[in-house]
């Protein structure tokens, strides 16, 4: 429901009593209904800094609430509750409990970047959505998303070998997300591919799956990447006041794979 159409009275704030006696006077009856106040009594001033410390959230403080992001938003067009303008405001003002009410919607951003180009203040709302979804995961408010599992599997492999082996990624991803390997669609896809697959390529893939090739001289690059990732993770932990990241992985594994801006390959899994 668009914000301006939302009721100011939330069902959970309505308190009615079948039987109620106040100062010895029986005031039972449905007219004894009370509405709990929905007053903002304090702002959590850390929240904006926390989001700003995560990749994508850096420019959140620029927002002046014009609403360009929301009215250009692909997702908002189908789900009016998806309102980046509103969430940016909640984060900036530190209305954390209010933000958490929408934790099941925030991750739905499809990264189309229409908001990025509409925003007159260069807030990069898409990045803020990403950072906010990430924040929800790190704080344990939402379970780790499938795309995050994919990111982790993907980056772990790259860090370990300097190469990606698709079959292994799929297997690892399914294992992480508790999905069976033999899924109908996958079996069907493999069957159809196999029918027209060049034998030589099939052999190469088989060998690769068995011997797991590595990039030569990778150790140095792996160490440098691991160091960087750990550094970034430590920074994020500090900013969010977390002792340990919600997902403490094997050394070198990143919860957020370092990657070039604009590469959303991994997000497509959503």
């Amino acid at each position: 429901m668009p914000i301006h159409e939302q009721s100011l009275i939330r069902p959970e704030n309505i308190k009615s009593h079948e039987k109620l006696v106040l100062d010895g006077v029986d005031v039972s009856g449905h007219w004894s209904t009370f509405i709990a106040p929905r007053v903002v009594t304090d702002y959590n001033e850390r929240l904006e800094e926390e989001i700003a410390a995560l990749p994508g959230g850096e420019h959140i403080h620029r927002c002046w609430q014009c609403g360009s992001c929301t009215n250009s938003c692909t997702v908002n067009a189908v789900n009016p509750d998806f309102n980046p303008r509103y969430w940016i405001y909640l984060v900036r003002m530190g209305m954390e409990s209010e933000l958490l009410r929408d934790k099941e919607i925030i991750w739905q951003c499809v990264s189309c970047h229409k908001c990025t180009y509409a925003c007159p203040r260069d807030v990069v709302p898409e990045g803020v959505m990403k950072a906010t979804a990430h924040w929800l995961e790190l704080k344990g408010h939402t379970p780790k998303s499938k795309s995050m599992h994919f990111d982790e599997e993907f980056s772990e492999q790259v860090f370990a070998t300097g190469k990606i082996e698709e079959g292994r990624i799929i297997r690892g991803f399914f294992a992480r997300t508790g999905q069976p390997l033999f899924q109908e669609w996958l079996v069907e896809m493999a069957r159809r591919i196999a029918r027209k697959f060049p034998i030589k390529l099939g052999l190469l893939m088989g060998i690769a799956a068995l011997i797991r090739p590595r990039t030569r001289g990778w150790a140095k690059a792996r160490d440098a990447i691991s160091e960087y990732v750990e550094e970034q993770q430590a920074k994020q932990r500090d900013a969010l006041g977390l002792v340990e990241l919600a997902s403490s992985e094997l050394p070198g594994a990143a919860t957020k794979r370092p990657r070039d801006r604009g590469d959303h390959g991994a997000d497509d899994v959503r």
Binding site: V39, T41, R92
Partner: protein
């Protein structure tokens, strides 16, 4: 030699008019009711000015210095104009210090009066010591003592700036936008954040009117570099729980009532018509415009005209105005007045 030009008011506009006339060799008489020249920026102790960032005492002080040292400007301080009559080119004025004057033209640079926040009692000024005005904060900064809560001298950790105090408010008969308060508030917010990095500054606004180039250098900069927070809400009341100030209002962007504690609340006070405007209008015989400022004549031909020929006006006397625009208007009015007296030599006028 032409008749001198009377300049009423020794603020930025009056000083600029006197200086402009002196540069073209024209004599002027500058009358200032206070004992000191400089107008609001000096008398009210402003800190750093918008947009130059110069300290008021340096920027306006320099203007005072060059007027006071000019042989072509006769300065009368602690003095007012008692009588004014005659025709353009041949006015006669009598000052409160007794001097009768023959003058060719007069320029009113009588400025404005700061809004008195006591007129908005619901916002706590005069009731709670830690509710202050932008002028008081300017003084805290310019005195070098820094922004402190007046009640106990502590450094505030949460400061709220309320915009439009004494502006855009039909309830108190002030329907105008005072034009500069948004920019001044952004400036003050940045000064506070710079001096007290742990202090959170919130600005409660109806609209942000940092016009022209002030948009980026004040509004955007305060948000982007200084992390000042802007909340769209007109505050209903300022109260206290005995320890902190409590402000109440509605955050209109999320449709939520707010009741939030602050250490200090700053009123961004507006610009009222000069309290003396009624008396000035009687003495000089000009018309006030509907808000009580001095009415302007033609806006596109001769600049700075009032309803009375030969009597000109410049600066915040005509409505809320910035210092630099006041100066520009004063120079324009000086030009018009100079053209008038140049056509009427003293001998012919006498």
């Amino acid at each position: 030699m032409s008749q001198p030009i009377l300049i009423v008011g020794g603020g930025p506009a009056g000083l600029a008019a006197a200086h402009a006339l002196a540069t073209v060799g024209q004599r002027s008489v500058l009358v200032e009711k206070e004992q000191r020249l400089g107008g609001a920026p000096i008398l009210s102790g402003y800190a750093k000015l918008v947009p130059s960032g110069e300290w008021a005492k340096d920027a306006i002080g320099g203007m005072v210095g060059r007027v006071e040292s000019s042989s072509l400007v006769a300065v009368h301080k602690g003095c007012t104009v008692q009588e004014f009559g005659g025709e353009p080119g041949a006015f006669k004025a009598r000052l409160s210090d007794g001097a009768p004057l023959d003058i060719g033209a007069a320029i009113l640079c009588t400025g404005f009066t700061h809004f008195d926040s006591v007129n908005k009692p619901e916002w706590g000024f005069g009731t709670f010591p830690d509710v202050v005005t932008t002028t008081q904060v300017e003084q805290m900064i310019s005195s070098g003592k820094g922004v402190r809560c007046p009640s106990d001298g502590r450094k505030p950790q949460r400061v709220a700036i309320l915009l439009c105090v004494g502006s855009r408010d039909r309830q108190i008969g002030r329907e105008w936008c005072s034009k500069i308060c948004c920019t001044v508030s952004c400036n003050i917010a940045m000064e506070i954040r710079e001096a007290l990095p742990d202090c959170h500054v919130y600005i409660y606004y109806m609209d942000i009117r940092t016009f022209g180039l002030y948009e980026t250098s004040y509004y955007w900069r305060s948000q982007e570099e200084f992390k000042v927070k802007y909340i769209k809400a007109r505050i209903a009341e300022v109260t206290s729980d005995g320890k902190k100030l409590i402000i109440k209002g509605e955050d209109t962007l999320v449709k939520r009532p707010i009741t939030i504690p602050f250490d200090m609340v700053i009123h961004a006070i507006g610009m009222d018509p000069n309290v003396d405007n009624g008396a000035l209008a009687r003495t000089f015989g000009f018309a006030l415009e509907r808000h009580g400022f001095i009415g302007k004549g033609n806006s596109y031909g001769a600049l700075g005209e009032t309803s009375r020929p030969g009597l000109f006006v410049a600066g915040a006397a005509t409505g809320p105005e910035t210092i630099d625009d006041s100066i520009a208007q004063a120079k324009a009015a000086a030009m018009t007045a100079f053209a008038l007296v140049s056509r009427v030599p003293a001998a012919a006028a006498a």
